[in-house]
Symmetry: C2
Subunit: 188 residues, 2 copies
DNA sequence: TCCGAATTATAACGACCGGTCTACTTATAT
DNA sequence: ATATAAGTAGACCGGTCGTTATAATTCGGA
């Protein structure tokens, strides 16, 4: 069914990347079409409701893309403190070798939470899922249910906020310094 | 010289508010002009370089606006933990009585950090200033220089990230739960 | 092979974008 | 009072936005 990567997949991947880098209103359909090597006809064939529908699919893609990376990193150490610290350090390193990944969901959330309810809801579900990943890691390491849930919330906020600081300063230093403080912040 | 609030001030205040609520590309000049009760002629009289110049002035306004509130809240308790906790709790409360203030700078930073260097630099300087406020509070309470700087960074990330989670979930709960964990996170 | 459906390619549309320009009104100073 | 500047109002421009419509092409099963 189609080549290894269908036009639909190309559109979703490209939209996911561009929306991460410049937000929802900062990216036009023209650019998504050009960069994905598809055409306007394909876009409206697979996403008849247009930009909003594509954005929701792109948000879902970002959710899975990031979730995979988080699970991978968290599995690298049994101790959750080491695992989480390593994960954030990796984010910082990716920043410094400017493989730009942008602010995953926060930008779109900030642009649309008052004006586009379907997109806002999609963003909320992404954060819920990411939190769950950290929560489970902490739970399986003997943290209490309350501690796991609360620390997971703190971690998501720290990471999302840390990425903001790193993109604003064009340096992974902020994320790196946050990573180095994780052992002080997360204690059983 | 002009009425109590000049057209220039009205433009800056309105732009500051709207950019906070919907980001840079999500707000048009037409809307800024209408909501501020001014005219396009005035906008380009005071900001001959257009939207970008207005945005930088609006970012500066947001910086001062938030700085004032932070300093006020931090002065309410001698103990920095109580003061910071109280500050974040207040943010959470403002959220619940939906006096929308938006994600102060993060959205604009995420939209523009790759494409508009002057705006990106303005955003960076805002975070630097806000960090300084927390850092000084901690320093004056006997925290070491390194601890003060590191905790200030963590606090900015936590708050900016917490606001993202609160806007995405349309609830101050995320910020409130983060506030309640501050004593565990910030220890001398 | 052939037919119908799926997919792709483009032209065109109205709406709106940021920005420019000019005319008009208001304030300031002598 | 008058000259000069400061500020305001809004029509207008080219370009781009998301969307629609239609034609051409490719694909899949009988």
């Amino acid at each position: 069914m189609g080549s290894k990567r269908s036009a639909k997949d190309q559109l979703i991947e490209t939209a996911s990347r561009l929306f991460r880098l410049r937000g929802y209103h900062g990216v036009g359909l023209k650019e998504i079409i050009e960069e994905s090597g598809t055409a306007k006809g394909s876009l409206y064939h697979y996403f008849p409701e247009g930009k909003e529908q594509l954005a929701i699919a792109a948000i879902e893609h970002t959710k899975n893309f990031v979730s995979d990376k988080v699970q991978e990193d968290l599995a690298e150490a049994a101790d959750p403190i080491n695992a989480i610290q390593g994960h954030i350090q990796k984010l910082a390193q990716e920043f410094n070798k400017d493989s730009v990944f942008g602010l995953p969901i926060g930008t779109i959330a900030g642009e649309t939470y008052l004006t586009n309810e379907p997109i806002r809801a999609a963003c909320q579900s992404v954060f819920d899922e990411w939190q769950r990943l950290y929560e489970e890691k902490l739970l399986s390491s003997g943290y209490s249910e309350k501690q796991s849930a609360d620390y997971a919330l703190v971690l998501i906020a720290l990471i999302e906020g840390g990425i903001i600081l790193s993109i604003a300063s064009k340096s992974g230093e902020a994320l790196s310094r946050i990573a180095s403080q994780i052992p002080l912040l997360i204690k059983k």
